[in-house]
């Protein structure tokens, strides 16, 4: 596999391309105008489904089943929201989901830096072998381990509990996260550590007081992506959880779909409230979303 590293544009290159950009801007070519036309058209296409979702969420069944459809709801019907929230048992399913988010994030926050440090900065026998094995799990389809893992948890009597949905995060916090964090640690100068060693600092102290604080962007990125993953996850929860009070938001919305299959106003209101927290998170932490993806950007 090709190595993946943080994409970093050195200052000199950046200033050069910046200058090239400025030069370009002076003469908007026909090519650029064409690019705008295509981009604006494509943006409209990309936004339409979201507009359609929100617009439908404010409509009664009568309004929604009109052909040709209206783009603006008239009158605007707010009622779908309180009703959808109630039918979704929104507070409870969100609390359940957040509980999983927190348990997973904590596990990742505690064990991923440990693993990244051990695999990235320390020398010990067997390191390369285990690193190769752990990296290889990134390519392993989850479906292969799904059934035996389920049977293992069943043997432990953990079906219909949350354990199967978070415990694995406490075992190194998943290969991809270790990988990202390790890449980040590798960019930090070794002198930082050496000075601390001279002062007699232990490994854990070096990790937690020097490396982790410096890696804040990488750690926040990892936690955000894990949050998105938990918010989305459907296959594992439907396998492990069966009693309704334990359902996660994704599960609840999935079963909601079956119950109200013709009531699209309801369904769209429910979908909108599922999307809203993510949108809020996106705008609160936009830089981490984009940088996080850039972090996975590749280098030859």
């Amino acid at each position: 596999m090709s190595t993946i590293a943080p994409v970093r544009i050195s200052d000199s290159v950046r200033s050069l391309s910046e200058r090239a950009r400025v030069m370009h801007r002076r003469r908007p070519s026909t090519g650029n105008i064409l690019a705008y036309v295509v981009l604006i058209g494509a943006s409209a296409v990309f936004l339409t489904p979201l507009v359609w979702m929100v617009r439908s969420s404010f409509m009664s069944n009568f309004q929604i089943l009109k052909f040709p459809p209206d783009w603006i709801p008239n009158p605007i019907l707010w009622q779908n929201y309180p009703e959808a929230l109630k039918a979704l048992e929104f507070t409870r399913v969100v609390a359940n989901t957040l509980r999983l988010v927190i348990l997973n994030s904590l596990g990742i926050f505690i064990t991923a830096p440990m693993s990244a440090y051990a695999f990235g900065r320390l020398r010990w026998p067997g390191r390369n072998l285990f690193w190769a094995l752990i990296l290889s799990t990134m390519m392993l389809p989850g479906a292969v381990t799904l059934i035996p893992t389920f049977l293992g948890w069943r043997a432990l009597g953990a079906i219909n509990t949350y354990y199967p949905l978070w415990v694995s995060s406490w075992f190194g916090g998943h290969a991809f996260n270790i990988f990202l964090l390790r890449q980040f640690f590798l960019t930090l100068p070794r002198e930082l550590e050496e000075a601390a060693v001279m002062d007699g600092a232990g490994r854990l102290r070096i990790l937690w007081t020097i490396l982790v604080p410096l890696s804040k962007p990488a750690i926040v990125t990892i936690i955000i992506f894990d949050f998105l993953y938990r918010w989305n996850e459907l296959l594992a929860p439907i396998i492990y959880l069966y009693s309704e009070p334990k359902f996660t938001l994704a599960m609840r919305l999935a079963s909601f779909r079956g119950m109200y299959h013709a009531q699209f106003g309801y369904l769209m209101a429910a979908s909108t409230v599922t999307v809203l927290p993510i949108i809020a998170l996106y705008f609160a932490a936009q830089q981490y979303f984009v940088e996080g993806i850039a972090l996975t950007g590749i280098k030859g």
């Binding site: 090709s2 981009l39 990309f46 693993s115 010990w124 067997g126 075992f171 850039a294 590749i298």
Partner: protein, 302 residues
């Protein structure tokens, strides 16, 4: 001497610290990957159904899969069809959009946000939304087609259109790979373009001689991630089609789930999962073997 001793102690200490710190990850590898992989292989050699005693059947499950099982070939066909259409179209479109955004257009950030946005819509909400868009009688898509005088289509309820519909929906989520492309494009050193300019090259030359070769590692990355993801697609069909109509959207992982948790045939489901694993491994290996023909590795872009 004292210093040397200290140094040796320090190295021993480092080895112990390394082991201890890596221990959770190593245990995790055994508990959640290697252990289940082996268990899955052993179970795949039995005819175990929940509530019955398992019998060892050797490669019986695999023989049955390829010869008598009514769903295996169908699910493989459907999943392959979905993968070979959605992944190349998705990767190429994402690349094209990233190239456009990289043309120093004003408002690049806004465009980037717009294209990235759909990827953060939670999968279940996304599936519910697209069911409504694909709705035969009142859906958005048929409404738009009506502007062009095209009669309403049955989309998710049509054997021929269900996979193209899911491919169309997957394109809405191209923002993730687009952002990776964009990051890659912005890492291409400007002096390479200057070199083309010095040689009197035009935009096409810049693309062919610099951008494309420099971006092949990113193309590879998006291609491999796309393939692995597409082979494992589940949520869409679980919510939108339940494998229908007439198994026309019976995705492989959906079929595994159904075999294990609806039909309770755990042994057979494990065998199915192993075949999927081998297929993904083979396809990924093939893609990587092909890289020497088309992927350009420069020492470093940094």
């Amino acid at each position: 001497m004292v210093l040397l001793k200290k140094r040796i102690r320090y190295h021993q200490h480092e080895a112990i610290a390394g082991w201890l710190l890596a221990l959770p990850a190593i245990l995790g590898f055994f508990f959640f990957y290697l252990g289940p992989m082996l268990a899955s292989l052993i179970l795949g050699l039995t005819d175990w159904k929940v509530g019955r005693r398992p019998n060892f059947v050797g490669i019986g499950n695999f023989v049955a899969m390829f010869t008598t099982d009514p769903f295996f070939w169908q699910s493989l066909k459907v999943t392959t069809y979905y993968t070979v259409t959605s992944v190349p179209i998705g990767v190429m479109t994402a690349f094209a959009v990233a190239l456009l955004l990289n043309l120093n257009v004003r408002g690049q950030r806004i465009f980037r946000t717009i294209f990235y946005f759909p990827t953060i819509v939670p999968a279940v909400a996304n599936a519910v939304l697209w069911m409504w868009i694909f709705n035969t009688d009142f859906g958005l898509l048929n409404f738009i087609l009506s502007w062009f005088g095209i009669p309403p289509q049955r989309w998710l309820f049509s054997i021929d259109l269900v996979i193209p519909s899911l491919v169309l929906m997957s394109l809405w989520g191209l923002g993730g790979s687009m952002v990776v492309f964009l990051a890659g494009l912005q890492g291409v050193p400007a002096h390479l373009y200057d070199a083309v300019a010095v040689d009197g090259g035009n935009a096409w030359d810049r693309f062919r001689a610099v951008t494309l070769p420099m971006m092949t590692p990113v193309l590879l990355f998006n291609l491999v991630l796309g393939l692995i993801g597409a082979f494992q697609a589940f949520t869409q069909v679980f919510i939108m089609t339940e494998g229908g109509p007439a198994n026309a959207s019976l995705f492989y992982v959906y079929s595994i789930w159904r075999t294990a948790f609806q039909f309770s045939e755990m042994g057979f489901a494990c065998a199915l999962a192993w075949v999927l694993f081998l297929i993904i491994a083979a396809v990924t290996a093939l893609v990587f073997r092909s890289t020497r023909w088309w992927v350009y590795y420069e020492g470093a872009i940094t």
